[in-house]
Symmetry: C2
Subunit: 702 residues, 2 copies
């Protein structure tokens, strides 16, 4: 996949230059200094030879078909260069040049033209406006990063070029190696998903790091990357979390579902591990690059100092991992072989005067313990400590068990050579124990991704024809909001049950309806112009007799007229007063990138004050829906808290899946809310009390 980019037999450098300091000179130097073994063809009409290589006036004159072209000419010449590539038969080009989409309308147009040419000739493009790419195993550095990083098994794909130059410089100091480093630039052609895929199939790459500000195509991202994460861990940092595309939202869900939530939901869905800082990105990359995946959450800690062990234990608990319990057997072995004052419970304290022998005994016995999934070894340099020998003891044991092992050799000069040895032996060391524990947390998260079952999307039988008719009738009127009546009808056609209810045009029929349903009842305004019915005084609850019904009818119509003089009133809806275990909200907002985003939460203040909500991306599978429910903080309220009965959780899952199916079937749905959705006790299902659907104007006018 994209092989010509990462292991080309020959490279043309279009815009190669003799002038020091020019990008075209830097790139050529990068290639040559990287000891690239294929053929290199500088292209520059003003030179005949650069750096001892014959220089060609254009691509067409090269007596060979270069596998890859690197383009560093000014923006206005790029298109003709790619056209030449196409004619020549070169199928891969890295366009370094800036001056495209990122630089205003002229650039934007230029980029569109670039894509057209690329498509026409089948010449794939990375960039434009990028720093270039590096493949350390191909000795290929077509970037203006001056130095080739060390070889390693980490691929780093970044939407920020500047970040790459900083990270490359930093990683040399940290002695972190890479398999590939890729600057994505504007992603005019090759997308982040394709690049992630290309790294996933690369044998040299074991973990993929991804710095992203915005993906090119959310759907594609989900489809492609979901398949990758089961094979290789992908760790992402999403930058630009703030600033919302949700300002113009007219529903609850609309105002709560911002870009950040959409990305988090997309990462969750695809199994990408999302980190919240650059430091965490690289901390995690090391444990994945060096160690086997931790299978469970039980951590053993071995230490020669109490304080750092307490800090580590705190971190284990904070990260919702477990301090592994040790068996009586193991503890008795430790007791017999460690000094009497040693702590033989986990965290195992081999004491300040421990030599490597004590560490060896502790590690060996702890690592083979069934209840231990991974270990953190803490070493503080004390008078008798021999860090290097202790590192050797760690390494010896690390290779004997297929369990995760990380270390925190704390200190500076005293532990430096030990840390070097650990790194060479693929054991990640962290300055402080908390970072080590956080990295183990990442492993456990990933083992959860590996354990995920196939989660097929359930099909529902629904009268799609009828739904289409309702939506069409709304569209024909040129409005975006369905009435509640219409909205609920749509949901009912997907099998989401509403309360018993009748539309009453006048007081008399309202009273008849109430008697049919049985008091107490609820009365609500029906108007296409009123979105917030309660605010408009359009709702009365707990109506217990015909007199109250009459009064309520008059009050509602009066309030609504006062609220909005122009509101068209179609009548009053009389409905059953629903009681259940909890009121819920299920909402949807269409995200620009990822499509329909489903929100779930307990209604009212849980959503509006506590923001206790979770998100999923359509289409949602059973496990995803269940996980959306379980991840809210107030989940306890659904499981039989105190005197509350247990809620009908399968019915909630079912409703989420039906909403998902509806959105999949009708892309023109822009936002929707079922709020409240009342869930009854186990086995008794749900009742949709109030519902809203808003259509997407863009989809409508298509």
């Amino acid at each position: 996949m994209l092989k010509k980019f990462f292991s080309p037999h020959s490279v043309a450098v279009v815009g190669a230059s003799r002038e020091q300091g020019k990008l075209g000179s830097q790139i050529l130097r990068s290639i040559l200094e990287g000891k690239y073994s294929g053929k290199v063809y500088p292209v520059n009409p003003k030179a005949t030879e650069i750096s001892g290589l014959k220089c060609y006036p254009d691509i067409l004159s090269i007596p060979d078909i270069p596998d890859l072209a690197v383009v560093v000419v000014p923006a206005r010449f790029v298109i003709s260069v790619i056209e030449e590539c196409g004619k020549k038969g070169t199928k891969a080009a890295v366009v370094i040049s800036a001056g495209f989409k990122e630089s205003g309308s002229e650039g934007k147009q230029r980029e569109q033209e670039l894509v057209r040419i690329s498509k026409r000739y089948g010449c794939r493009i990375i960039g434009p406006n990028c720093l270039g790419i590096i493949d350390t195993y191909s000795n290929l550095n077509v970037s203006f990063a001056p130095v080739m990083p060390e070889k390693g098994n980490i691929a780093f794909i970044s939407q920020s070029g500047a970040l790459i130059s900083a990270v490359l410089d930093w990683s040399r100091k940290q002695k972190i190696g890479f398999s590939r480093v890729i600057s994505m630039g504007n992603m005019a052609d090759v997308s982040e998903s394709e690049l992630i895929e290309a790294c996933a199939v690369d044998d040299r790459t074991d973990v993929i790091l991804f710095y992203v500000e915005g993906v090119k195509d959310g759907r594609e991202f989900i489809n492609r990357v979901s398949k990758i994460t089961r094979r290789k861990p992908v760790i992402a940092i999403k930058a630009g979390l703030t600033g919302s595309g949700s300002r113009a939202a007219s529903s609850h869900t609309g105002s709560l579902a911002g870009m950040a939530e959409a990305y988090s939901a997309a990462f969750e869905k695809t199994g990408v591990l999302q980190v919240s800082s650059m430091e965490e990105l690289f901390d995690l990359s090391l444990v994945f690059a060096y160690q086997p995946v931790m299978k469970g959450d039980r951590v053993a800690i071995i230490t020669n100092a109490g304080g750092p062990a307490v800090v580590a234990t705190d971190a284990v608990e904070k990260q919702s991992l477990r301090v592994a319990p040790l068996s009586e057997e193991t503890m008795s072995v430790l007791k017999n072989n460690l000094p009497p004052a040693a702590n033989i419970h986990n965290p195992v304290d081999v004491l300040g005067d421990a030599t490597e022998e004590s560490y060896k005994i502790a590690l060996e016995n702890v690592m083979k313990e069934e209840s231990v999934d991974g270990a953190l070894v803490i070493v503080t340099p004390q008078t008798i400590t021999r860090p290097l020998e202790t590192a050797k003891a760690v390494i010896e044991n690390a290779n004997r068990y297929k369990k995760t092992i990380v270390t925190s050799f704390m200190g500076g000069a005293a532990v430096e050579t030990a840390i070097d040895l650990l790194r060479q032996s693929r054991i990640p060391n962290y300055e402080f124990p908390e970072r080590a524990v956080r990295s183990l947390r990442g492993m456990v998260d990933y083992s959860g991704v590996l354990e995920r079952q196939e989660n097929p999307v359930k099909k529902f039988s629904a009268d799609r024809q009828k739904v289409a008719e309702i939506l069409d009738s709304v569209k024909k009127e040129g409005i975006r909001n369905l009435t509640d009546f219409q909205a609920r009808k749509v949901f009912e056609l997907y099998g989401i049950k509403g309360p018993e209810r009748f539309l009453a045009k006048d007081v008399e029929s309202a009273i008849i309806a109430a008697e049919k349903i049985g008091y107490p009842v609820v009365a609500k305004i029906v108007s296409p112009d009123i979105l917030h019915k309660t605010e408009a005084g359009g709702v009365k609850i707990n109506i217990t007799n015909p007199g109250e019904m009459e009064k309520s009818f008059d009050e509602i119509t009066g309030s609504v007229k006062a609220y909005s003089k122009t509101a068209r009133i179609e009548g009053i809806e009389v409905q059953e007063m629903v009681k259940g275990v909890q009121e819920l909200i299920i909402g949807v907002k269409k995200d620009l990138q990822f499509g329909h985003l489903i929100m779930f939460g307990l209604g009212g203040i849980f959503v509006e004050v506590l923001k206790d909500i979770t998100f999923g991306i359509v289409p949602v599978g059973y496990d995803e829906a269940l996980s959306m429910i379980k991840r809210i903080k107030s989940y306890k309220l659904l499981t039989g808290f105190r005197k509350l009965p247990e809620a009908d959780i399968p019915a909630i899952v079912d409703t989420i899946l039906k909403v998902s199916a509806l959105c999949e079937d009708f892309l023109e749905i822009s936002q929707l809310d079922i709020n409240p959705l009342v869930v009854k006790s186990k086995g008794n299902g749900i009742v949709m009390v109030d519902a809203r659907i808003i259509l997407d104007y863009q989809e409508m006018i298509r």
Copy 2:
């Protein structure tokens, strides 16, 4: 304060040794290698000379009164050594020796004896079971840390000795300097509070770092440290926060790790900044050690790279800081002086090809902007970047304005010398922007501490005599739980109003009471043996007429008898049915260390499921009480959310203050709950609906 410890004129080393590897040899070497200029007296009966110094058989034979004694003899000899110190007139001793409280009951007894001797002679003791102390400006290293740290203005006080050895080694590599490093050990005599105080009055110390597992005396800590934090920042990490964490703590130094909430409340009350990781501890220490305190929360970001600036902006938002808005004027100056493509809004992007000149222009103009409280300068090493020159530009501007400035020169070798120069010029640099921003957050928190007003504790008139009588009557019966009736009476005597209510012994008087109050009413069992009335079926609400009253009376007494055959029933309480804006809970639990801990939250699920609660420590002042209320996540529900009226917040504050006063007056109160406490709308006060007080058995039997 404790001057003889940190700037002694002479030091006796009791247990000095010639044998390499022994602690007594290491300590003497530490002193001599540290170039301590005072007199040093080795004490060892088996030697006449050690390391060229005359050696004395005991302290009494020294022809001088040593200011300080360092004691490294085996535990069993320590007491007689201190006794000799006392007789000699030496007033300060650092006891390195282990074998005290931390090592079982014999050691515990030995420690008590040590304290007794220390008190008798007025010889203060740091330790025992400690690593020793360092004062870099006195060239004093009486510790077994082999190397003296660089001079600096950070004091590090630690309850873990091993952590000190790791940190000292690490800090040399990081080039972080210290004024003092203190290992507290068991704190048999000198407490953490005294040590913090001693560093606070030290002119060389500007920031105090504190690693704590458990304080010696919570009340003393609050009293002493509250006064310090207004002068110097104290940054603390509390280890042993979690269940298993505190298990590790008590097996470590034998210290009793208090509840995490109690410590957080104590830090909040005293103005100590609590951090949650070792890394954060040192990150914050640097900005406080090097930079003036940031006065507001508006951050300017200057960068030569988009990606890291986005990351930094995210961090600013996550830390609840603000991206400073720039004035039109400033932006126009930037526009005229920076390249056309530069971003002149904050974050100011001087572009990848920026030289130090662009940075200079940006910084100068941004720093003098009124709306900017502090700046983060990000530099990524790109082709044209000159990190060292850019560092100089930063330094030049940092010294001209009294505003905080931090940097993130990202990378390795390319930025190394620049970072060195920054450090020498007292500008803290952080590997990644997120850590820089987190450090600024710490500064803003501290500026909040500096702005705190004197917050005197309000005195309430209360019939303390009557309260004492009630409590005494309960104690006399040898029970711990007050009846609700008694509990509410106590609160009422402190001016906390309950609902109108009457105790009815029979159905007839219950009906009379209900009529007096006016229907609807609530009926509740009154029994000293029933704590959970609802659970026992002892509560009926919304009783609307005499018939219902009669029925309720019978049902309640019936249920309670079924619930507990032995329960003594004193009658039924008939009370007004209270309605308000929200139900609250105010509770108290006595913490072993800090005394009465007051909890506040919205009642029910907010406490039990969402744990949305805050804590304060008695005595609580007005601002503290208000802050307890404002810090709950559901605070919005008290301020007029949607159709809810605004709650009477001053009345809640008042109630918290009264509960605080009650606890101050009556130490025998172990736990109490006012739950629910109903708050009515603004101006209409509160009503205590249900209350409970439990006495402390320990205090009762005193």
